[in-house]
């Protein structure tokens, strides 16, 4: 056990290990031995230095989503979307983008550990332990993989008494229970968002992170032009959906149910008189009228923060409205609810019913509420083995740990929420002595080693030709389930809110870390949460009224007490949060995540499984915990007309000529080369998901700086998503404004550089010549947009955070140089991609076509909010959009003539539309 719980390595030994690990990884940096099939659009054959693209699958909470992984010389360096997969649609999210960093995490476990350090020792122990197979148990998260399910079935056949538990930390128990309540069975209800004209979201976050985010976000953006949707959101704390709404009201969870009651009554539910404030009644009345007016194209959604009854009522309302919702059979074959399964697991542990325990790719010791005492329970089990990517909390409680292969090193498969299956294809042989879950389970079942490749092929029984097609497409054709017909038997009853005792505590998945399993991923830790822009930690979000009443200072530390349990975290005052509600996020306070993720933020999953808890108390803490944020000021200070512009719903039509004329200047008009690259960001489409930020980080070798440097006010993101709170039509709104380099034609940064390190190229890019830079920082001082980033230390090398520099070099995009200490850097419109596109076109003696050159942020964006192209072509996508009335330039009065411009945010909140 000591090898698992041992203290942190000292620096010297860590460096030694890193060096050894590097040498080992270099040596093993090779393609898998089995045939892997490139993504369909790629020419065959590996060319040195040329990126190869392979379709593969990454899971989020067990659900599979197809992506394209890019490998250069056998090293995966980037994740891109797979347009052929219905749950990617060519886009990515932060978790997918960050996987490529996790792959190279030097702290990922690479060897058997526990009561021995060899596979042989473990095998012997396993054989001894299973001589008496009674008391054998398997614990997993959500499993949708057909191959894994085959292995589990085989294991259950081999050991008929096997107890199986399945519990996922970000669970859908309320939705499952609501579905049972409404339909009598568990179904996966997936909205056809694009088909809805009026949408009401009652305390849910369909646009937030999750397996369905990319699909819904794309549908959302397709409805931003033409006849626009009207989105109504009632929620206790800000979500991405709330920020996207045309009408939003902040209500405590109980009040949200009263809104639902009112609207359901309008639809004929007869649930009794709703108790509504004036504002809530106004909101509900309007939403109700619009939903009913849009019969057949109206949609009501809720989320895990609400109970089964509201979920059921939403199903009922959707049925009454003939809403565009498809019901699919659940892809999760386990019948039990997640909370119930975890509780049963804990009970069985403590009752001694489990003698031999396998935990596959799950971390119940961290995820479960403290009241279940999971680590103590596991410690009672004589033989327990944890299969995982890290020696995490659960691994420390177990007697054995088996290293798991990363998805990018694995063969396997997974299903999307609608059943679409896709193959997990490795891009690289395992970097360490790891195996996939399927390989372990197959061994447990048969006692014989099997390759994951063989297991996956066996599960699919596909011909070679079909197999290759599956691999190259990235989604297995015709595996999506057929929607099933379900009917709502009766109007479910809706409970009234309980008596107001204390504050309501809302626990939500973290926007950057999710459930915290990737807490050791520095990109995610340093990815700013959309509203607070907080990094490296979580915070207690509190409404201004409550903060004033409880005398809690912004960014001051508070103790939150609930049912005798207390945690401390910095408080952050969030205008627009419902009074009487405090909100925190999961995924933090890991006890054994690794050097990066351990002890960052507060662990709140120990409180309860529930997402809404009442009776919480908040008080000023004696502790002082840092609140680290990348943006100290979110209020627009009355400058909305300059910085984040808002337009009426009627102004969306493009193509009015003559609107793209710059103001006059005493300087000569800049000459344009063959191409005049420009970027245009549609703030109306942007939902603030941060996928572009992490994509940029991966593409451009952007280092992280670590929590101490963030506290100093430093960060390195080339692209940031500014968040502004502003008042519009009397309501508080949030606007997301992604800010990359503006590539000004009259760039203020260039004439001030004494050594011409900041110069313009002939295609209009403002480029930074790193080798020439001496680090005067005049360019950043004179940049009104503050988009330049300075290497105060050698963030990419010797002074990298957590000494990860050498390890991260493996991930580096070889087309982009790593920047050394004392050098300025910034967004360069993915110059390497521009160059590649130009060369490709030149080889074929043609011009770069419109849409051919795609920046990393643009590729990642699920809402296609980012457009890029050539201004010399008057008909290019970018040129046309720049002529739209919604077009605006950030700080236009400075006449820097940016090539990056914006489209205004539209709130479709006029009464007339």
């Amino acid at each position: 056990m000591s090898s698992l719980t041992g203290s942190a390595l000292d620096r010297r030994s860590a460096l030694k290990l890193l060096a050894a690990g590097m040498a080992a990884t270099m040596a093993r940096c090779s393609r898998p031995s089995e045939e892997i099939v490139p993504y369909v659009d790629m020419p065959e054959g590996l060319v040195a230095g040329e990126p190869m693209r392979f379709a593969t699958t990454l899971t989020l909470g067990g659900h599979g989503r197809g992506f394209v992984a890019v490998a250069v010389d056998g090293r995966p360096v980037k994740i891109e979307g797979n347009a052929r997969h219905p749950f990617s649609l060519g886009a990515t999210d932060i978790f997918a983008e960050a996987q490529v960093l996790s792959l190279y995490d030097p702290e990922r476990s690479g060897a058997v550990a526990g009561r021995g350090t060899t596979w042989h020792a473990f095998a012997q122990a396993w054989t001894r332990a299973t001589r008496d197979p009674s008391g054998l148990a398997l614990f997993t998260g959500r499993v949708t993989s057909p191959t894994t399910l085959v292995q589990i079935d085989a294991l259950m056949k081999r050991f008929p008494g096997l107890r199986r538990y399945r519990s996922e930390p970000i669970h859908d128990d309320a939705a499952r229970a609501g579905s049972r309540l409404a339909f009598g069975r568990v179904v996966e209800a997936l909205p056809r968002w694009a088909d809805a004209d009026a949408i009401l979201v009652l305390d849910g976050d369909p646009l937030g992170n999750g397996p369905d985010q990319l699909r819904i976000a794309r549908a959302y953006s397709t409805r931003r032009g033409g006849k626009r949707q009207r989105i109504h959101v009632a929620e206790p704390a800000w979500t991405l959906t709330g920020a996207a709404a045309d009408f939003r009201i902040a209500l405590a969870p109980g009040e949200v149910r009263e809104v639902a009651r009112k609207i359901a009554n309008d639809l004929g539910a007869g649930l009794g008189e709703p108790q509504l404030s004036d504002a809530a009644r106004k909101f509900a009345t309007r939403a109700s009228a619009e939903l009913r007016a849009a019969h057949g194209r109206a949609l009501v959604l809720t989320g895990e923060g609400q109970g089964a009854e509201l979920h059921a009522l939403c199903h009922w309302m959707n049925a009454r409205l003939a809403a565009p919702v498809d019901a699919f059979p659940s892809q999760d074959p386990v019948a039990g609810d997640h909370v119930g399964e975890m509780t049963a697991f804990a009970n069985d542990l403590h009752a001694g019913r489990i003698r031999t325990l396998l935990i596959a790719d799950a971390n119940p010791a961290y995820d479960a509420p403290d009241a279940l005492h999971i680590p103590a329970g596991i410690a009672k089990v004589p033989f327990s083995a944890h299969i995982g990517l890290y020696v995490d909390e659960t691994a420390q409680a177990c007697t054995w740990h088996l290293p798991l292969s990363h998805a990018l090193e694995s063969w396997g498969d997974a299903r999307a929420p609608d059943g679409t299956a896709s193959i997990v294809q490795p891009l690289i042989r395992p970097l360490h002595q790891t195996r996939t879950c399927d390989e372990y389970l197959a061994w447990f079942a048969t006692g014989k080693p099997a390759s994951a490749h063989a297991l996956t092929r066996a599960a699919w029984q596909a011909s070679d030709r079909n197999w290759r097609q599956m691999l190259s497409d990235g989604a297995v054709a015709n595996t999506a389930a057929k929607p099933i017909t379900v009917s709502v038997a009766r109007v479910p009853d809706l409970p009234r809110a309980g008596s107001g005792r204390g504050l309501v505590l809302r626990i939500a998945p973290d926007p950057s870390l999710g459930d915290g399993r990737h807490a050791n991923n520095a990109w995610l830790q340093e990815c700013a949460k959309p509203f607070t822009r907080q990094v490296w930690g979580n915070a207690v979000q509190i409404a201004p009224e409550d903060a004033q009443r409880l005398q809690i200072a912004d960014e001051g530390t508070v103790d939150v007490t609930l049912d005798g349990r207390t945690f401390a975290a910095p408080a952050v005052i969030v205008p627009g949060q419902a009074e009487g509600v405090i909100a925190v996020t999961l995924g933090h306070g890991r006890l054994a995540a690794g050097r990066i993720g351990t002890a960052v933020g507060a662990r709140v999953c120990g409180l309860s499984f529930a997402r809404t808890l009442s009776g919480a108390a908040v008080a000023k803490s004696a502790d002082s915990l840092p609140f680290r944020s990348l943006q100290a000021h979110t209020r627009l200070e009355g400058r909305a007309e300059d910085l984040f512009q808002i337009s009426g719903a009627h102004e969306h039509e493009p193509n009015e000529p003559g609107l793209d004329e710059p103001p006059p200047s005493i300087l000569p008009t800049p000459q344009r080369g063959e191409y005049a690259w420009a970027m245009l960001i549609d703030t109306d489409a942007c939902i603030g998901c941060n996928a572009c930020v992490v994509a940029c980080q991966a593409e451009n070798n952007v280092p992280v700086v670590g929590p101490e440097e963030v506290s100093q006010g430093r960060d390195m993101h080339w692209l940031r998503v500014d968040n502004y709170a502003l008042s519009h039509n009397g309501a508080l709104r949030h606007g997301f404004e992604p800010v990359p380099c503006m590539h000004c034609e009259l760039a203020p940064c260039e004439p001030v550089c004494p050594v011409a390190a900041s110069v313009h190229d002939h295609e209009g890019l403002n480029v930074q010549v790193y080798n020439r830079c001496i680090g005067t920082r005049f360019c950043e001082a004179n940049c009104p947009y503050k988009v330049r980033r300075f290497n105060w230390f050698d963030y990419s090398g010797d002074q990298a955070y957590a000494e990860q520099g050498p390890a991260l070099e493996q991930q580096h995009n070889p087309d982009v140089s790593a920047r050394g200490r004392g050098v300025m850097e910034k967004c360069n419109y993915c110059l390497q991609r521009v160059s590649r596109a130009r060369k490709t076109a030149e080889k074929e003696s043609r011009e770069v076509a419109d849409g051919e050159m795609v920046t990393a942020c643009q590729a990642a964006c699920p809402t296609r909010a980012i457009h890029f192209g050539n201004l010399n072509d008057a008909q290019s996508d970018v040129s046309r959009r720049r002529r739209a009335p919604r077009h605006y330039t950030l700080l236009a009065e400075l006449n820097t003539r940016p090539r990056t411009t914006y489209l205004k945010r539209v709130f479709n909140d006029g009464e007339d539309t």
Binding site: P670, E750, P751
Partner: protein
Amino acid sequence: MTVLAEFSTAQAATDAVAAASRAGHPARDVLSPVPLEGTAEHLAPYAKGKIGWVMFVAGAVGGLAGWFMQWYSAVVDYPIISGGRPMNSWPAFLLVPYEAAILSMGVVGLLGWMWMCGLPKLFHPLFAAPIVERAVQDKWLLVFESADAHWARAHLGADAVHEVRE
């Protein structure tokens, strides 16, 4: 043979120089611990250094060279696009020539002064006279050629007269 007529005050020395000049026996030089303005006119004729002109020419050359360097490098040798400014951004190019001109004038001025004075000259025959060390402290020494030595001895009323072999 050179004669040094010693005086203890500036006024006496100035008067003596004027008197010598009037008498047709002008002093060749005066060694003085302070500058005596207007007194040099009464010395025996010598070539006055045109330090002002030297400095002016140096400044003109330095300034023009500074301008040309910028123009050549920014317009001809390695033009780059910088903030949309014209290659020949002449207003921005005015400052370096200004500084270059002043720098040239200062450096050439000092060198010119040294050259005109024949300095550095760490040894000079007059240093052979011990009294010369007082000339940088508190004594004034009028230097007369041997032809005027007799007159100087007789008529100047110096505190003392010293002879030096040059």
